[in-house]
């Protein structure tokens, strides 16, 4: 797994004074960040605000205050130009349990205008070809996670948001997910992978953010010699 072939340079996501409140609970304190292309790990304990931040970036949750822009455009899932650029896997799979793996992926491929050969490619990449006709509801949690990642990368989005993609995965499957992300990675594309197990993502991430109690406490970007503090 290569982690040195990429040097992120292009500003993709800007967050300015972003806050999210659930009633009286402040889930995200004012967040000011510039995220560059490449893979960014989003680390922090349970309840730190990682999922909330990803949902805001996906346009699925409106911030209470502040701004979030993607390639200069305000992030809102109601904007078609924004949402076709986003691939998102949340805590849940986003799949239909009564449909087979291939039926699920073909449905989303057709909705995104993706060729069926791409479905086969992604299935092969994630080693799911043999399970293509199995109903998702009959798969183990780890296999469902792999199909969910397949769905998210299917349309080759510019922004890939993965919330705990390694949950329930064994080492081999985790490697395949990481390889899929690296395969997808290209200049101008940004992936944010939220996880509370930092080790796996640190191995190939171009940047890392640590978030605690809704506040960003560290943001570092990989350089040729190590890491530099970013803003």
């Amino acid at each position: 797994m290569s982690n040195s072939a990429f040097r992120s340079e292009q500003s993709c996501i800007e967050l300015v004074g972003l806050t999210v409140s659930y009633g009286s609970t402040l889930a995200l304190r004012p967040v000011d960040l510039t995220l560059y292309d490449g893979v960014t790990g989003l680390f922090g304990p349970n309840g730190a605000g990682k999922s909330t931040l990803l949902r805001v970036l996906a346009g699925l949750l409106r911030p209470t205050s502040g701004n979030a822009t993607l390639f200069g455009e305000e992030i809102r899932a109601s904007r078609e130009s924004i949402r076709r650029r986003i691939g998102y896997v949340g805590h849940e799979s986003g799949l239909y349990a009564r449909l087979s793996v291939i039926e699920n992926l073909t449905l989303f491929a057709n909705l995104y205008g993706v060729a069926s050969t791409r479905v086969e490619d992604v299935l092969e990449r994630l080693d799911m070809s043999e399970r293509r006709t199995t109903q998702v509801g009959a798969l183990s949690a780890g296999l469902v996670r792999r199909v969910a990642v397949a769905r998210a990368v299917l349309h080759e989005p510019d922004v890939l948001l993965l919330d705990e993609p390694y949950a329930n995965l064994d080492d081999d499957a985790s490697e395949r997910v990481s390889a899929t992300v690296l395969d997808w990675r290209a200049p101008g594309r940004v992936a944010i992978i939220a996880t509370h197990g930092a080790k796996r993502v640190k191995a190939f991430a171009d940047a890392g953010i640590i978030i605690q109690r809704g506040a960003v406490i560290s943001y570092r970007r990989r350089t040729a010699t190590g890491y530099e503090v970013a803003t």
């Binding site: 996906a58 346009g59 699925l60 409106r62 809102r76 899932a77 109601s78 078609e80 949402r83 076709r84 986003i86 998102y88 949340g90 805590h91 849940e92 799979s93 986003g94 799949l95 239909y96 349990a97 009564r98 449909l99 039926e103 449905l107 989303f108 057709n110 909705l111 995104y112 205008g113 993706v114 060729a115 069926s116 109903q135 998702v136 769905r151």
Partner: protein, 241 residues
């Protein structure tokens, strides 16, 4: 591969809903079970030898039997529909599929149309079963006016599924969605169901297309269909976002 258009994507989502239902069978069977049970109970509530022109004594006076049976029919359809609509977004909610759907490049009105048309299929199946059952239990004799009844049912269904789907999308975001949906939907549905009962009782009493067309309720039904479909398609975006 060229990206599909609005109609093709909407059709894909309808096919998905129907495929999931044929495998899960958790929407239509409860609706049908409710309808058949209620129809059976209602059949025993009327005198066995009554005919459509009879009147029935009620505490506030008398009412034509045709009105009573039309009321029975539409109340049964109304509550069966609410049972089904409450499950409209269950398949999307179960594993977070709604988030994935909200991110696909399809206008929100396409999602609304897909859900509403899936509901239309469910309610049509219920009616295809229920109307013959009512015909049998209540000895309905419509002759050539069956087609007029089908027209009335179709017009009622359009407004019913439009407003039912919209409120189902709102109710789906609450914990007690099965309770919230009737509370939200019933007040809005009153006008079209009054129109439905009035027009259907005319048919049951022997009035044909001319009698139905001459009633103001026909126009009211058309008006509410137009309003409900328009409001549903426009407001759905705010409901799901």
């Amino acid at each position: 591969m060229a990206e599909r258009g609005f109609v093709a994507k909407t059709t894909l989502l309808i096919r998905k809903d129907l495929l999931v239902e044929t495998r899960a069978r958790d929407t239509l069977p409860p609706m049908l079970a409710f309808c058949l049970t209620v129809a059976l109970l209602l059949a025993f509530s009327l005198p066995g030898n009554a005919v459509m022109q009879d009147v029935v004594e009620v505490p506030i006076g008398t009412v034509a039997l045709a009105d009573v049976i039309a009321g029975f029919l539409w109340i049964t359809i109304l509550f069966a529909g609410l049972i089904g609509f409450a499950r409209t977004f269950e398949v999307e909610r179960a594993d977070g599929a709604l988030d994935a759907l909200l991110l696909v490049p399809l206008d929100r009105s396409g999602l609304f149309a897909a859900k509403a048309l899936s509901n239309l299929v469910y309610i049509a199946v219920v009616e295809i079963v229920l109307v013959p059952v009512f015909t049998l239990f209540f000895t309905l004799e419509l002759g050539a006016d069956w087609l007029v009844l089908v027209l009335v049912i179709a017009l009622v269904d359009i407004g019913f599924v439009a407003i039912g789907t919209l409120f189902a999308s709102l109710a789906a975001q609450t914990r007690s969605r099965e309770l919230i949906l009737p509370v939200l939907a019933l007040p809005s549905l009153v006008p079209i169901f009054i129109a439905a009962v009035e027009l259907t009782s005319d048919l049951f009493a022997g009035g044909g297309l001319g009698a139905v067309a001459a009633r103001g309720w026909f126009g009211i039904l058309l008006l509410f269909d137009l309003v409900f479909v328009t409001v549903g398609a426009l407001a759905f975006e705010f409901a799901v976002d």
